[in-house]
Symmetry: C2
Subunit: 140 residues, 2 copies
DNA sequence: GCCTTCGGTTGACAATGTCAACTAATTGAA
DNA sequence: TTCAATTAGTTGACATTGTCAACCGAAGGC
């Protein structure tokens, strides 16, 4: 098994996946980028949460998170309130509007994910995720 | 199995993998980017080949390929010669210097790949690649 | 010969990623 | 209590990666 095969497979899959996502979002009339949407999913999943928590979850640079959050706040998709215990931090959550946007996102991704997983059964998918996780953990 | 789990796993794995690669290249004193190196690997694998072939293999935009090839030609890592049958095209291959650089690249990646695959056996890796390929094909 | 398609180039811009410097807040040790 | 070290988030600057368009000359098909 040549090492390069994993790397190349990953690159190609990532490109293809992102392209599929972008197409799905564009088809749904969503103007948000993959990064914005990924951040929103993290917020939904972690809500209520802080910027730091999102950065940890998504393994992204806090500077990037700040910028993405700024856009999402401006768009009224998320809202912030003070953190009860830490004045440096804010608590973030989806707005009602944001919940609607998330539904659009979920709907638009449905097709992309169905295509991605066509012909793969639940065990395959679970294996893929499990192996991915192992590899991520290996690199941390 | 929530759809978002695959996507999020992929994002995280890709980020981690690229970071590991960049670190490995930097540690080896290589100044080439992940994209340059990926292009070189394609050339080595396909040599002799054309820009178009590389673009196909790596699923990248031909404009990007042109730019990357330009850098690699400038650095003397690859060389070009006329295409026997198509005056629009050139045949590309690694130079002797380029072969040396590739050895450095392989050496530097060794560690990163070992870490990536720690605790995974050959069957796991093969499964990962197989599933990745299936998914890429699904999206094309 | 003519028209369409194609390989590669260049331009322009968007998206994503990294690192540094900074401020204000928090924490923990003395 | 004090103070130094650390931390959450912000801003700046720049690099890397990705997309799409326009273009030119070459190739291919009718």
């Amino acid at each position: 098994m040549p090492d390069t095969l994993i790397g190349e497979s990953l690159h190609q899959l990532m490109h293809a996946y992102k392209r599929a996502l972008r197409q799905a979002y564009a088809d749904a009339g969503l103007t948000l980028t993959v990064s914005h949407i990924r951040t929103l999913k993290a917020i939904r999943s972690l809500a209520p949460c802080t910027a730091q928590r999102i950065a940890q979850r998504t393994q992204r640079d806090k500077a990037q998170i700040t910028r993405l959050l700024h856009d999402l706040l401006d768009a009224g998709i998320i809202a912030k309130r003070p953190h009860a215990e830490d004045r440096r931090s804010r608590i973030l959550a989806l707005t009602a509007h944001g919940h609607g946007v998330m539904e659009q996102i979920d709907e638009s991704e449905r097709h992309a994910h169905q295509r991605l997983a066509a012909g793969l059964d639940a065990a395959d998918l679970e294996t893929f995720v499990r192996l991915s996780r192992l590899m991520v953990d290996n690199l941390h």
